[in-house]
Amino acid sequence: MSRSLSYERLIHASPEQVFDAFTSPAGQRELYGQDDPGWIVESICDLRVGGTWSISFGPAPGQLYHHHNVFEEIDRPHRLRMSTTEIRLDGAPLVFDVEVTFAARGEATLMTMTQSGFPTDALRDEHAIGVPTTFDNLERVLTGSPP
Protein backbone atom coordinates (compact mmCIF):
# COMPACT_ATOMS: atom_id res chain seq x y z
CA MET A 1 0.00 0.00 0.00
CA SER A 2 1.22 3.47 -0.77
CA ARG A 3 2.23 5.72 2.11
CA SER A 4 1.29 8.85 0.23
CA LEU A 5 -1.38 10.65 -1.73
CA SER A 6 -0.47 11.42 -5.31
CA TYR A 7 -2.17 13.60 -7.92
CA GLU A 8 -1.36 14.04 -11.59
CA ARG A 9 -2.48 16.72 -14.03
CA LEU A 10 -1.55 17.09 -17.68
CA ILE A 11 -1.46 20.82 -18.31
CA HIS A 12 -1.10 22.28 -21.77
CA ALA A 13 1.80 24.61 -21.07
CA SER A 14 5.56 24.21 -20.76
CA PRO A 15 7.17 23.01 -17.51
CA GLU A 16 8.61 26.50 -17.02
CA GLN A 17 5.16 28.06 -17.35
CA VAL A 18 3.55 25.59 -14.98
CA PHE A 19 6.37 25.85 -12.45
CA ASP A 20 6.29 29.64 -12.54
CA ALA A 21 2.51 29.70 -12.20
CA PHE A 22 2.65 27.34 -9.24
CA THR A 23 5.11 29.59 -7.44
CA SER A 24 3.54 32.92 -8.44
CA PRO A 25 1.09 34.91 -6.30
CA ALA A 26 -1.56 34.65 -9.03
CA GLY A 27 -1.19 30.88 -9.37
CA GLN A 28 -1.23 30.39 -5.63
CA ARG A 29 -4.37 32.51 -5.30
CA GLU A 30 -5.96 30.35 -7.97
CA LEU A 31 -4.88 27.11 -6.31
CA TYR A 32 -6.53 28.04 -3.03
CA GLY A 33 -9.28 30.19 -4.46
CA GLN A 34 -12.88 29.60 -5.23
CA ASP A 35 -15.69 31.57 -6.78
CA ASP A 36 -17.63 32.33 -3.59
CA PRO A 37 -18.01 36.09 -3.07
CA GLY A 38 -15.74 37.30 -0.32
CA TRP A 39 -13.51 34.23 -0.37
CA ILE A 40 -10.11 35.19 1.03
CA VAL A 41 -6.71 33.97 -0.16
CA GLU A 42 -3.57 35.56 1.24
CA SER A 43 -0.30 34.10 -0.03
CA ILE A 44 3.23 35.16 0.83
CA CYS A 45 5.96 33.17 -0.92
CA ASP A 46 9.71 33.43 -0.47
CA LEU A 47 10.91 31.10 -3.20
CA ARG A 48 14.32 29.94 -1.99
CA VAL A 49 15.56 26.88 -0.15
CA GLY A 50 14.69 27.52 3.49
CA GLY A 51 12.17 30.15 2.45
CA THR A 52 8.53 29.92 3.45
CA TRP A 53 5.27 29.96 1.56
CA SER A 54 2.36 30.85 3.83
CA ILE A 55 -1.23 30.73 2.69
CA SER A 56 -4.33 31.75 4.57
CA PHE A 57 -7.68 31.10 2.96
CA GLY A 58 -11.31 30.84 3.88
CA PRO A 59 -14.74 32.44 3.67
CA ALA A 60 -14.18 35.19 6.25
CA PRO A 61 -11.37 36.76 8.29
CA GLY A 62 -12.30 34.75 11.37
CA GLN A 63 -12.59 31.47 9.49
CA LEU A 64 -9.23 31.11 7.79
CA TYR A 65 -7.21 27.97 7.30
CA HIS A 66 -3.45 28.38 7.36
CA HIS A 67 -0.92 26.36 5.38
CA HIS A 68 2.77 26.91 6.02
CA ASN A 69 5.37 25.45 3.66
CA VAL A 70 9.15 25.51 3.94
CA PHE A 71 11.00 24.96 0.67
CA GLU A 72 13.54 22.17 0.98
CA GLU A 73 14.48 21.81 -2.68
CA ILE A 74 13.91 24.04 -5.68
CA ASP A 75 14.93 22.79 -9.10
CA ARG A 76 13.17 25.00 -11.64
CA PRO A 77 11.34 23.86 -13.71
CA HIS A 78 11.57 20.22 -12.72
CA ARG A 79 10.89 19.79 -9.03
CA LEU A 80 9.86 21.37 -5.74
CA ARG A 81 10.03 19.79 -2.33
CA MET A 82 8.41 21.31 0.75
CA SER A 83 7.67 20.54 4.34
CA THR A 84 4.04 21.47 4.92
CA THR A 85 2.10 22.26 8.05
CA GLU A 86 -1.64 22.71 7.78
CA ILE A 87 -3.31 24.37 10.73
CA ARG A 88 -6.89 23.59 11.60
CA LEU A 89 -9.37 26.15 12.79
CA ASP A 90 -8.85 24.85 16.33
CA GLY A 91 -5.08 25.32 15.96
CA ALA A 92 -4.13 21.65 15.67
CA PRO A 93 -1.42 21.00 13.05
CA LEU A 94 -1.14 18.38 10.33
CA VAL A 95 2.44 17.99 9.11
CA PHE A 96 3.62 16.18 6.00
CA ASP A 97 6.01 16.44 3.04
CA VAL A 98 5.09 17.57 -0.45
CA GLU A 99 6.94 16.97 -3.70
CA VAL A 100 5.82 18.52 -6.96
CA THR A 101 7.41 17.50 -10.25
CA PHE A 102 6.92 19.07 -13.68
CA ALA A 103 7.77 16.71 -16.55
CA ALA A 104 7.54 17.66 -20.22
CA ARG A 105 5.07 15.59 -22.22
CA GLY A 106 5.30 16.90 -25.76
CA GLU A 107 4.07 20.48 -25.59
CA ALA A 108 2.35 19.82 -22.28
CA THR A 109 3.51 19.23 -18.72
CA LEU A 110 2.70 16.34 -16.45
CA MET A 111 2.48 17.90 -13.00
CA THR A 112 2.64 15.38 -10.18
CA MET A 113 2.06 16.27 -6.55
CA THR A 114 2.87 13.73 -3.87
CA GLN A 115 1.96 14.27 -0.23
CA SER A 116 3.70 11.85 2.09
CA GLY A 117 4.06 11.36 5.80
CA PHE A 118 0.39 11.10 6.60
CA PRO A 119 -0.23 9.30 9.88
CA THR A 120 -1.67 6.43 7.94
CA ASP A 121 1.51 4.39 7.95
CA ALA A 122 0.58 3.07 11.34
CA LEU A 123 -2.88 2.22 10.10
CA ARG A 124 -1.39 0.30 7.24
CA ASP A 125 1.36 -1.47 9.10
CA GLU A 126 -0.36 -2.42 12.29
CA HIS A 127 -4.00 -2.91 11.51
CA ALA A 128 -4.17 -4.74 8.25
CA ILE A 129 -4.56 -8.08 9.95
CA GLY A 130 -7.51 -7.17 12.09
CA VAL A 131 -9.57 -4.90 9.88
CA PRO A 132 -9.04 -6.08 6.32
CA THR A 133 -12.04 -4.36 4.77
CA THR A 134 -11.13 -1.01 6.19
CA PHE A 135 -7.59 -1.36 4.94
CA ASP A 136 -8.77 -2.34 1.53
CA ASN A 137 -10.69 0.93 1.46
CA LEU A 138 -7.74 2.86 2.76
CA GLU A 139 -5.46 1.38 0.13
CA ARG A 140 -7.98 2.24 -2.56
CA VAL A 141 -8.08 5.82 -1.35
CA LEU A 142 -4.33 6.17 -1.06
CA THR A 143 -3.50 4.60 -4.37
CA GLY A 144 -6.48 5.94 -6.27
CA SER A 145 -7.37 2.46 -7.45
CA PRO A 146 -10.97 1.51 -8.25
CA PRO A 147 -13.08 -0.29 -5.61
Binding site: R9, G27, Q115, L123, H127, G130
Partner: protein
Amino acid sequence: MGSCYSAPIGALSTTLDKTFFALADPTRRGILEQLGGGPATISQLAAPFGLTINGIKKHVAVLEVADLVVTQKVGRTRECRLGSAGLREATDWIERYRAVWDLRLDRFGRFVERTTRGGA
Protein backbone atom coordinates in the same frame (compact mmCIF):
# COMPACT_ATOMS: atom_id res chain seq x y z
CA MET B 1 -17.44 23.31 -4.65
CA GLY B 2 -17.53 25.69 -1.74
CA SER B 3 -18.37 23.01 0.76
CA CYS B 4 -15.41 20.93 -0.37
CA TYR B 5 -13.05 23.81 0.12
CA SER B 6 -14.30 24.56 3.58
CA ALA B 7 -14.12 20.92 4.62
CA PRO B 8 -10.50 19.78 4.58
CA ILE B 9 -8.93 20.62 7.86
CA GLY B 10 -12.05 21.34 9.80
CA ALA B 11 -13.09 17.83 8.94
CA LEU B 12 -10.16 16.44 10.89
CA SER B 13 -12.40 15.73 13.84
CA THR B 14 -11.58 15.07 17.42
CA THR B 15 -12.27 11.40 16.85
CA LEU B 16 -9.67 11.31 14.14
CA ASP B 17 -7.20 13.11 16.38
CA LYS B 18 -7.79 10.44 18.97
CA THR B 19 -7.24 7.73 16.38
CA PHE B 20 -3.89 9.12 15.31
CA PHE B 21 -2.86 9.78 18.91
CA ALA B 22 -3.73 6.22 19.87
CA LEU B 23 -1.72 4.82 16.97
CA ALA B 24 1.35 6.85 17.81
CA ASP B 25 2.33 4.50 20.63
CA PRO B 26 4.07 1.20 19.73
CA THR B 27 2.56 -0.66 22.67
CA ARG B 28 -0.92 0.31 21.59
CA ARG B 29 -0.16 -0.74 18.03
CA GLY B 30 1.07 -4.04 19.44
CA ILE B 31 -2.17 -4.45 21.36
CA LEU B 32 -4.15 -3.91 18.18
CA GLU B 33 -1.98 -6.38 16.33
CA GLN B 34 -2.57 -8.92 19.05
CA LEU B 35 -6.31 -8.31 18.95
CA GLY B 36 -6.16 -8.84 15.21
CA GLY B 37 -5.84 -12.51 16.05
CA GLY B 38 -9.01 -12.46 18.13
CA PRO B 39 -10.45 -11.12 21.40
CA ALA B 40 -8.28 -11.21 24.52
CA THR B 41 -8.59 -10.36 28.18
CA ILE B 42 -6.60 -7.57 29.82
CA SER B 43 -4.35 -10.18 31.47
CA GLN B 44 -3.69 -11.89 28.16
CA LEU B 45 -2.80 -8.57 26.57
CA ALA B 46 -0.48 -7.59 29.43
CA ALA B 47 1.69 -10.71 29.32
CA PRO B 48 3.60 -10.20 26.03
CA PHE B 49 4.45 -6.60 26.88
CA GLY B 50 5.62 -7.25 30.43
CA LEU B 51 3.25 -4.58 31.65
CA THR B 52 1.14 -4.49 34.77
CA ILE B 53 -2.59 -4.90 34.52
CA ASN B 54 -3.02 -1.23 35.32
CA GLY B 55 -0.46 -0.29 32.67
CA ILE B 56 -2.21 -2.21 29.95
CA LYS B 57 -5.59 -0.88 31.10
CA LYS B 58 -4.37 2.66 30.45
CA HIS B 59 -3.35 1.78 26.92
CA VAL B 60 -6.62 -0.04 26.28
CA ALA B 61 -8.53 3.00 27.56
CA VAL B 62 -6.81 5.22 24.98
CA LEU B 63 -7.66 2.75 22.23
CA GLU B 64 -11.22 2.53 23.47
CA VAL B 65 -11.67 6.31 23.36
CA ALA B 66 -10.57 6.23 19.73
CA ASP B 67 -13.04 3.43 18.97
CA LEU B 68 -10.17 1.20 17.95
CA VAL B 69 -10.93 -1.27 20.72
CA VAL B 70 -14.19 -2.32 22.31
CA THR B 71 -14.24 -3.86 25.78
CA GLN B 72 -16.90 -5.87 27.51
CA LYS B 73 -17.03 -7.35 30.97
CA VAL B 74 -17.34 -11.12 30.83
CA GLY B 75 -17.68 -12.64 34.28
CA ARG B 76 -14.74 -11.40 36.33
CA THR B 77 -12.61 -10.44 33.36
CA ARG B 78 -12.78 -7.70 30.74
CA GLU B 79 -12.61 -8.90 27.17
CA CYS B 80 -11.13 -6.67 24.47
CA ARG B 81 -11.70 -6.87 20.75
CA LEU B 82 -11.02 -4.66 17.74
CA GLY B 83 -13.35 -1.84 16.86
CA SER B 84 -13.20 -0.15 13.50
CA ALA B 85 -15.02 3.17 13.83
CA GLY B 86 -11.80 5.16 14.18
CA LEU B 87 -10.24 3.57 11.13
CA ARG B 88 -13.35 4.23 9.08
CA GLU B 89 -13.22 7.89 9.99
CA ALA B 90 -9.56 8.07 9.03
CA THR B 91 -10.40 6.57 5.66
CA ASP B 92 -13.30 8.96 5.12
CA TRP B 93 -11.17 11.94 6.01
CA ILE B 94 -8.43 10.98 3.54
CA GLU B 95 -11.09 10.56 0.83
CA ARG B 96 -12.36 14.08 1.48
CA TYR B 97 -8.84 15.46 1.63
CA ARG B 98 -8.01 13.97 -1.76
CA ALA B 99 -11.18 15.43 -3.26
CA VAL B 100 -10.25 18.91 -2.08
CA TRP B 101 -6.82 18.73 -3.70
CA ASP B 102 -8.31 17.33 -6.88
CA LEU B 103 -10.48 20.44 -7.11
CA ARG B 104 -7.57 22.75 -6.37
CA LEU B 105 -5.37 21.22 -9.05
CA ASP B 106 -8.18 21.22 -11.60
CA ARG B 107 -8.66 24.91 -10.98
CA PHE B 108 -4.92 25.59 -11.13
CA GLY B 109 -4.57 23.67 -14.42
CA ARG B 110 -7.38 25.68 -16.00
CA PHE B 111 -5.73 28.89 -14.80
CA VAL B 112 -2.36 28.01 -16.33
CA GLU B 113 -3.87 27.02 -19.64
CA ARG B 114 -6.00 30.16 -19.72
CA THR B 115 -3.10 32.48 -18.94
CA THR B 116 -0.64 30.81 -21.31
CA ARG B 117 -3.24 30.59 -24.09
CA GLY B 118 -3.16 26.85 -24.32
CA GLY B 119 0.45 25.91 -24.65
CA ALA B 120 4.14 26.47 -24.59
